[in-house]
């Protein structure tokens, strides 16, 4: 180890320099000189926001005014003064003009008034709500049902109460707007499959299965759901439920069926797409429907196993934070179900 002295000195200095580099704060160029108050005020002065909404003329140019319906929107309808046959309402069972339903609703107003004046948690639960839930559960053959005060809010609240960030939703690409909003609110990973294309869905499920095998730990907590409609609002097609149920058990993916249009329409008793295909209703994890079409009332419902449905009573946003369904509309729905069973 013979070396000249200057060598040790240079080496030593280098070591000291490295230590300095390591421990001293890095050199920073202050490219940001903080703005002065005056400059900020000028910026605020300069900023011009976009208008809140486009000007009135622009909106008017692209849209037509609503048609006005006078009188009852039944099978005969008066639109803008013209008397027409009604091919446009979703009044499938003709319950809009049903006398029995009107009578039940009238009696209900004389007992309960109109509004419910509270959410379900706080004195907004009426005995008729509980009865309606029981009736829907009995009619559909499920363990339990929950009602929402608006059809649109039903599936849109139900999806996010189960599917959270990190979970996977398999959704038909032609699904209705309410499902799309529910999916968006859940912030889960969404996989859209081709409309009613079970091969495409299966290939996507198989792909996920392969990914799952690589990361077992993650996949053991990732919930997966398929969301389909009984009858698609956008295309009028019926979903392929038997295949979906097969896929459910094969790939362990839960199945939610939105039956707003098919409830009261498909199946011998109008119990929806499960009855249409003769599939036991337990095979579907959750069935959501609207009371606004076949039942000609307002609101929506979800039904299924108590284990699944009861969860929404504390987590369904549209259930917990909204006023409950006006009792008269619950009475109307009960009467409508009665008529469906009897007639």
């Amino acid at each position: 180890f013979q070396a000249p002295l200057y060598h040790y000195i240079v080496e030593g200095l280098l070591v000291v320099w490295i230590i300095r580099l390591l421990f001293f704060k890095s050199y920073k160029i202050h490219d940001k000189v903080p703005l002065t108050t005056k400059e900020k005020d000028e910026l605020i002065e300069d900023w011009e926001p976009e208008p809140l909404v486009p000007p009135l003329e622009e909106t008017r140019a692209v849209s037509k005014p609503y048609r006005v319906v006078s009188g009852q929107p039944g099978k005969e309808i008066v639109v803008d003064g013209y008397k027409c046959k009604n091919f446009a309402s979703l009044n499938f069972l003709g319950f809009v003009e049903n006398e029995r339903i009107s009578k039940a609703a009238t009696e209900c107003v004389s007992k309960y008034g109109v509004g419910s004046c509270g959410p379900r948690g706080f004195y907004g639960s009426f005995d008729v709500h509980l009865e309606l839930e029981k009736r829907i559960a009995k009619f559909t053959g499920t363990e339990c049902a929950i009602i929402y005060s608006y059809g649109f809010a039903t599936i849109a609240s139900a999806i996010p109460s189960y599917s959270k960030r990190g979970d996977i939703l398999y959704v038909d690409e032609a699904c209705c707007f309410a499902i799309q909003k529910g999916v968006q609110a859940s912030r889960s990973n969404v996989v859209y499959f081709k409309h009613n294309d079970m091969e495409d869905l299966e290939s996507k499920l198989r792909h996920q299965e392969m990914l799952d095998k690589k990361d077992v730990k993650k996949s053991s907590v990732t919930r997966k759901f398929m969301v389909v409609e009984g009858i698609y609002m956008n295309t009028g097609e019926i979903c392929d439920l038997p295949r979906l149920v097969d896929l459910k058990y094969k790939y362990k993916v839960r199945l939610f069926v939105e039956e707003s249009l098919s409830f009261g329409v498909l199946g011998q008793h109008g119990r929806g797409v499960t009855e249409h295909y003769n599939i036991p209703v337990e095979k579907v994890d959750m069935m959501c429907g609207s009371m606004e079409y076949s039942l000609a009332s307002t609101g929506g419902f979800c039904c299924g196993r108590e284990y699944v449905i009861d969860h929404q009573r504390l987590t369904g946003l549209g259930y917990v934070f909204s006023a409950s369904l006006p009792p008269l509309l619950a009475c109307a729905a009960i009467e409508a179900i009665d008529i469906m069973e009897e007639e």
Binding site: G113, R120, P326
Partner: protein
Amino acid sequence: ARLNRIHSIFGTVDGLSGRFVSVFNYFKSLFYSKFMKPLRNGNVIHDEPPRKRFQEDFESTPLYIAVVTYINYGIMIVFGFLRDFLRRHGFEKTHASTEANDMKDFVPLYASFESFYTRNIYNRIQDVFNRPICSVPGPVIDIVERQFSKSGWMFKYTGKVLKNVVNLGSYNYLGFAENDGPCAEASIESIEKYGVGVCSSRKEMGNLDIHVKLEQKMAEYLDVEACLTFGMGFATNSMNIPCLVSKGCLIISDGLNHASLVLGCRLSGAQIRVFKHNDMKDLESKLRDAVVYGQPRTHRPWKKILIIVEGVYSMEGSIVNLPGILELKKKYKAYVFLDEAHSIGALGSRGRGVTEYFGIHPREVDIMMGTFTKSFGAAGGYIAGSRALVEHLRYHSHSACYATSMSPPVCEQIITSLHIISSTDEGKRRIKQLADNCRMFRQGLKKLGNIVYGNDDSPVVPAMIYAPTKLGAFSREMLKRGFGVVVVGFPATPIAESRVRFCISAALTEQQLQDALDAISDISDLLQMKYSKKK
């Protein structure tokens, strides 16, 4: 007395032995003697008392109460873990519903910790929520009696009805929850004329003539250019905010905004920033930063900035500092969305809400939103404002395109109650009665020594309970004495700020309110709830 206090606090936690009591006595006396300082400033006084003086009051939580509340939770959590352990190993029978047999190998639907709170804390006081009623939700209600098992997990209906319980919980501010009188009659007539269902959306075949009439009347009442109504209040918020702001826009939202507003903000895709509840300084700093620095990362200027506030906050009983908000709005060129769910009908000398309360013209607010559930005794919501705004929403609102329109009898109820409020002496009487009732009840409650939150004129009167176990006790004791009250705890409130919320109605008589105050005084002594140091 000390022992009594402790018992009252922990009374409903079963299985608590005397041993703990001495420990807590020690803790409590320690904090009593040394640290009895307020946690935060007592009064929130708003910068500039506008045309109307603010009486907003948020008395701080006494420190020892905060500590005791956390200990209260601590004990419940410890016992929760213990019982979960027992349930898991089969020592305690579990009453929870289970997964279907053929689905046991699916990924569990719920993370087990998520439901810990429900299982071990909520279930203990389950009986004070969701009480079913079987009468009109007016000043007195009939409650269907339920009998709960000792664990609180299961209940059965006894078949009995608790008659004539005084209702301090419904949002029946102007007393329009009635089953007779002009409103009910008109609704029944409309059922005869239109039926109950509409089966179509506003854009298609669901735009009935009475919907058009309602919108005209509402716009006249609010003194704005136009109005659009929807079938559900919650959806009015959550489905319309996305039509107004989108990516590249900024929403500045009050920290205590309702879930529907929060959902609407999330669905819109805009950036969301939250300012401290009713704090104008915080709002100004957020606005300033937003305008000066623009969007994060790209530093492009924001397309538009929308401030979202509520008129009356339903859990705090506070009224928005609207003059302050509007001043900032002008200064920073933001837009204001005002949710009047609890204030329309209930505030202002003619019931026109928070704008009238402050003497501000409604046209100064860009978007006036409100619901018909509360003061009008119906259901649904509206958005009112300039014609350009309403026409835009009419053609782009998701609710108008995809959701069924409002049921005719509900619509008729609003038209009739609106007529009574806006142009009859009866309406004026109700509005005055509500204002008198609110003041009388709130002052009475303050005199008792309870900590009461919020504004003196607000129809929502929250009184603090703090400890979660007292929630159950308070509500049960009130029901025993014939009063139905609403108690709220976590997650609707901050974890240590459980409270009872009284909603005052014009239909309640002075005698009923006085009786309620007497009962509250009685129970507050029992539960040691007279925390206030102001008295």
